[in-house]
């Protein structure tokens, strides 16, 4: 089973790789264009090119140093300390992976779940409350917290599926609205008595009890926590669900051709609801792991933009579990690296967002890359589609 898991990686690696290169190339141009000093040298092309090249080189080197391996850090505090950025990359990737899997799973059933953000928030809410309100042995407490996250996220997502199944309300619209509602709801919730810290009025919930926190794996200041195993396990689970289980068979059948699925006796409303429930549950679990892995205290900004980045991650991974895992790692690296980018070169970290969008753009458009790199049919893109309004 494990070997099968990795099949297809090699086959599909070229397209993402070229997209990656091309996106970084364009990102470099944008960095140069936005630098008045370098643009001022346009009159002398030689000077312009060298300073542009070194500017771009330094920027990407900074991203690398900040996300994979930091030579300076290694020089100061030893070889292994140099891997600190990589630990950060993985920690950043974990919540992205959960939410990305949520989006990917929905994609495979032909649903576009833009609502991972809201589901993530609800998962974190559930985890937070169970985490701080009870004192239990860790072996019971942690699973309980995770279940709370799954259930709340699942209900919040399942509601969308149910609504679509019963009334036909399109999930894109409903999830967008629910994202707004979730972020307002958490603002309100954090002001209620149950979620206020003692003697404080700030909208920040108490930290979860230490029995509910996921243990750190490497100790010291490396933040890598047990969540990575949960994340890998869930990635495997989603892969199993989609390719080996009868439920996943239904999901894929409805996603590929809902008419044929219905004709063969598969209940489309059931699949819609179940998909959105599981998808929401995955995002909610992500919220829970994020909360008890690194954050510990619930705040209004707990989800950041994870739920939205997750969509890009799932697209990058072409809606497959393994692809999503790699996509999450890449995005984790870019986001972690963007900190060093800013502090070392002064390039605003938003460039990373541009690069992320470009990568997905190119992956979704194999034709374009074929033209640019003059390739013959060596690139194949998975047919990844979101259903239109009538779908």
């Amino acid at each position: 089973m494990i070997t099968k898991f990795f099949i297809g990686l090699k086959k599909n690696a070229l397209l993402p790789f070229l997209s990656f290169i091309f996106a970084f190339f364009i990102g470099g141009i944008i960095i140069v264009v936005s630098d008045p000093v370098i643009m001022g040298q346009l009159s002398s092309p030689g000077k312009f090119l060298t300073s542009a090249a070194s500017r771009i080189g330094n920027s990407y080197l900074a991203i690398f140093q900040g996300s994979i391996y930091d030579v300076n850090l290694a020089r100061e505090s030893g070889f292994f300390r140099g891997f600190y950025p990589m630990s950060e990359t993985i920690v950043t990737a974990i919540p992205l992976l959960f939410a990305g899997l949520a989006v990917a799973l929905a994609f495979r059933s032909g649903l576009f779940n833009i609502g991972a953000q809201g589901q993530f928030i609800f998962g974190a809410i559930g985890a937070s409350y169970v985490g701080f309100a009870y004192e239990l042995p860790p072996l019971i407490h942690v699973p309980l917290v995770l279940i709370a996250g799954i259930v709340l996220g699942g209900l919040f997502g399942g509601f969308v599926g149910l609504l679509k199944a019963k009334t036909g309300a399109h999930e894109v619209i409903v999830t967008i609205m629910l994202n707004y509602i979730a972020s307002l709801f958490i603002l309100w919730l954090l002001k209620t008595q149950a979620f206020l810290r003692e003697e404080r009025q700030d909208p920040i919930a108490p930290e979860v009890n230490s029995s509910a926190q996921l243990p750190k794996l490497l100790g010291g200041d490396l933040r890598l926590h047990l969540g990575i195993f949960i994340a890998l396990g869930v990635t495997w689970f989603v892969w199993w669900l989609l390719t080996r289980s009868t439920l996943g068979f239904k999901f894929r059948a409805v996603g590929a051709n809902s008419n044929a699925a219905r004709t063969a006796g598969i209940s489309v409303p059931f699949v819609t609801t179940a998909t959105m429930f599981i998808s929401g549950g995955l995002a909610g679990l992500g919220g829970a792991v994020h909360l008890i892995g690194t954050e510990y205290a619930l705040t209004a900004g707990i989800a950041g933009s994870i739920g939205f980045d997750a969509i890009t991650v799932a697209l990058l991974g072409q809606a497959t579990p393994l692809g999503t895992l790699l996509g999450a790692l890449l995005f984790g690296a870019l986001q972690t690296g963007s900190r060093t980018l800013l502090s070392n070169t002064g390039t605003p970290s938003e460039i990373v967002q541009v690069i992320q969008a470009l990568i997905v753009l190119f992956i979704a458009t194999p034709m374009l890359l074929k033209r640019v790199f003059r390739l013959k049919n060596s690139i194949e893109s998975k047919s990844m589609t979101a259903k239109g309004w009538n779908g």
Binding site: I204, G301, S343
Partner: protein
């Protein structure tokens, strides 16, 4: 010959640079690296992130810091790694901007007892985490009083971005100031947008929805308010832009002086309610520079000029002198402790 000369000059220049670079290191006690970990609103928020970092800049100029640095957060998840990054960079004073960074700062403070930490809008912990807080209800009490005195319609307004304690404290003080004016002058100036009894009010739900901010400003005008106090970061520019156009209301600037962060709106902005974030950061930096750093909370008040109000120069003649004098006396009384804004 010429070439040789050039080389000499270059070497000289290089040694000069290196000597400059080396000299503070030689005097280790005075070397202070101040690092500011920002909230998600970013360095250009025209509000507490920007002004806090301004404090660090001023400290650099004054020589209290040898170098300064900042990192913005994309989300809450960035707080801890950003602080970690600062620790790796050997910062000696790390300042977190916003109470949301509190947990991350505290965790780092406990783990790194040799590094000084400060938390804007937050609390003190242990020996090396210093809270920096502001009694902004004191100065907003004053601008509330001033607003009530200037209002011709008998209605003044306020609104907030999101109902956070740092926001609502402004609104509460403002409303209390109006009440005080009513008590003193026996008038019935009404406050729209905040209710001191139910502690509810008008909020945008975000700090970036300009359309909603504009609509709220217009609606407040339609309700008859002629002075508006927007406590919503950058959105105050929207309200001021509207006032410029409608000519129906004036605006009270928040956080910084309107002449510094919104010059073009000075003509509709009689007064600014200052939250001395830069002063607070500067004061803490100075304290650490002088080796007097303690975890005793820094509280910005009217008396230590941590909070203040500033009449816009163009308005100093337009606002009745008597009213200005009353506010000045009131400020003195609050600073002296003879009036408590919460029970006035």
């Amino acid at each position: 010959m010429k070439r040789a000369n050039k080389v000499v000059v270059a070497i000289a220049a290089a040694s000069l640079i290196s000597s400059v670079a080396i000299s503070p290191a030689a005097n280790a006690a005075t070397k202070q690296k101040v690092c500011v970990a920002l909230d998600t609103a970013g360095i250009n928020d025209k509000s507490f992130n920007q002004t806090s970092y301004d404090g660090a800049k001023r400290a650099l100029k004054a020589g209290f810091a040898s170098s300064i640095e900042y990192l913005p957060a994309k989300s809450n998840a960035d707080y801890a790694p950003n602080i970690k990054k600062f620790l790796d960079k050997k910062c000696t004073l790390i300042i977190g901007v916003g109470f949301l960074l509190g947990d991350a700062i505290t965790a780092a403070a406990i783990a790194n007892p040799s590094v000084n930490f400060a938390l804007v809008d937050g609390w003190s912990v242990g020996k090396n985490q210093k809270g920096i807080t502001y009694k902004t209800d004191e100065n907003s009490f004053l601008v509330g009083y001033l607003a009530a005195g200037m209002s011709k319609t008998g209605k003044v307004a306020t609104y907030g971005g999101i109902a956070l304690p740092t926001v609502t404290i402004f609104m509460e003080g403002y409303a209390k100031g109006v009440q005080y004016y009513n008590d003193v002058k026996n008038t019935k100036v009404e406050v729209i947008g905040w209710n001191t009894k139910t502690k509810t009010g008008t909020f945008l739900g975000s700090f970036d929805d300009t359309t909603k901010a504009l609509q709220t400003s217009i609606s407040l005008e339609q309700q008859g308010a002629d002075v508006i106090f927007p406590v919503a970061g950058g959105m105050q520019a929207t309200t001021a832009a509207n006032s410029l156009k409608s000519k129906k209301s004036n605006v009270i600037w928040v956080d910084a002086k309107v002449m510094d962060t919104g010059k073009q709106y000075a003509s509709v902005t009689p007064v600014s309610a200052l939250k001395g974030l830069a002063e607070g950061v500067l004061a803490v930096t100075k304290e650490a520079y002088e080796g007097k750093f303690t975890s005793k909370e820094y509280v910005g008040t009217l008396s230590n000029k941590g909070v203040a109000y500033a009449i816009t120069p163009a308005w100093s003649k337009k606002i009745p002198a008597s009213l200005q004098a009353e506010v000045r006396d009131l400020a003195a009384a609050i600073a002296a402790g003879s009036i408590d804004v919460n029970n006035a």
